[in-house]
Symmetry: C2
Subunit: 204 residues, 2 copies
DNA sequence: ACCTGAACACCGTTCAAGT
DNA sequence: ACCTGAACACCGTTCAAGT
């Protein structure tokens, strides 16, 4: 079992352990010494797989985006859901993810190394989409069914993303009062999206 | 001139210099040695005014919130603006502030010491309001003039705040593409707020 | 209300030398 | 593909002793 680290598992084990650490302490206070001690390897072993602490956590961030994308994709590809339900459920899933892994989420959307974030889509299989691309596709669907007014889908997608991301951020880092009202806030946000983009609402 | 630091200005100078540093480098890479070298004081002089680096930056965060509040308050109290204009202009000002001082903004809304953030209102003069309170007041005004549907003003205020904050975050840390579309994104976000909350839009 | 200078514990990272 | 052990530069912070 310990032998396994000697062959091909250490890289993976480091990423998984780093994610586990992030659930208990912030990025800044995680040390390579602490990580390696827990994995029972030497501190220098990290440098066989990553050139620096930062590069290790780039891999962690990438993993975080992959998982978020999988979660969202699962909702998008669920054939039993209407488009309205998908929009609602993707928002909920997204926010749930942020609340489940707050420090990982902070790292993903913080400012530590954005170069990699731009790559993060191309790294994946060529038939895959970014989490954002899924949202854009959903907006296009909504426009086709006349649920959303027909403007540039990217703009609507970014606005929705900003709202959800903002809600997630405020729930994680904001005033405790906000967290108490979680359910109602999600509902209000959703109603803001739906009625705001609905073409029948344009009689002033 | 140098004498002034010996009397009462060092605390203030440290805060101002720290904010200036934040415009050029991230919080993590700012060192107390670098700060004090530039101010021509000894490294240990900081501890006459702050018990730690963290406490110094708590003061910086507080200053950041004060300035943001002033900026928003100025718009709110401008009698020549309609409520719609105020909503639009507060959003723009807020986002402009985040783009002008990205690292300060990250610090303000990151997770470094939220204890102080909860105090940040009470520390100010008793006749003052939080930036958020101003937004709530504006929402109440909008409800009175029938621009917004009458639900709990807090919920609408948080939803708006989340959207603006999310936009600011994505503009600062997101894909460069988003920054290029800044003007249109702000416009789309505003339209999402207005039409979404507008009571006349409720015919499905 | 500052100064100097030395020291401490703790980092990430490097290197030499092993298996 | 790991190990040990020593070392380096750089932190925040503390302390003793000054003015």
């Amino acid at each position: 079992m310990k032998q396994s680290y000697h062959h091909h598992n250490l890289k993976e084990a480091l990423i998984e352990e780093a994610i586990a650490f992030l659930e208990k302490q912030p990025y800044e206070s995680i040390t390579i010494r602490g990580l390696t001690n827990l994995l029972k390897v030497s501190r220098t072993a990290v440098y066989r797989h990553f050139s620096s602490k930062e590069e290790l956590f780039q891999a962690v961030i990438l993993r975080g985006f992959e998982r978020l994308k999988e979660k969202i994709e699962k909702v998008y590809k669920n054939p039993s859901l209407t488009i309205e339900e998908k929009i609602a459920k993707i928002g909920e899933s997204y926010i749930a993810y942020a609340l489940d892994f707050p420090e990982l989420y902070r790292l993903m959307f913080g400012d530590k190394l954005k170069q990699l974030r731009e790559e993060s889509c191309e790294i994946q299989n060529s038939d895959n989409q970014c989490a954002f691309d899924i949202l854009v596709a959903l907006v296009v669907d909504a426009q086709k069914e006349n649920i959303f007014v027909e403007v540039n889908p990217m703009e609507q997608a970014v606005a929705i993303w900003a709202l959800i991301h903002g809600q997630a951020s405020l729930l994680i880092d904001g005033h405790p009062m906000i967290l108490e009202q979680k359910e109602r806030l999600i509902k209000t946000g959703l109603s803001m999206i739906m009625k705001g983009f609905k073409p029948t609402s344009t009689l002033t």
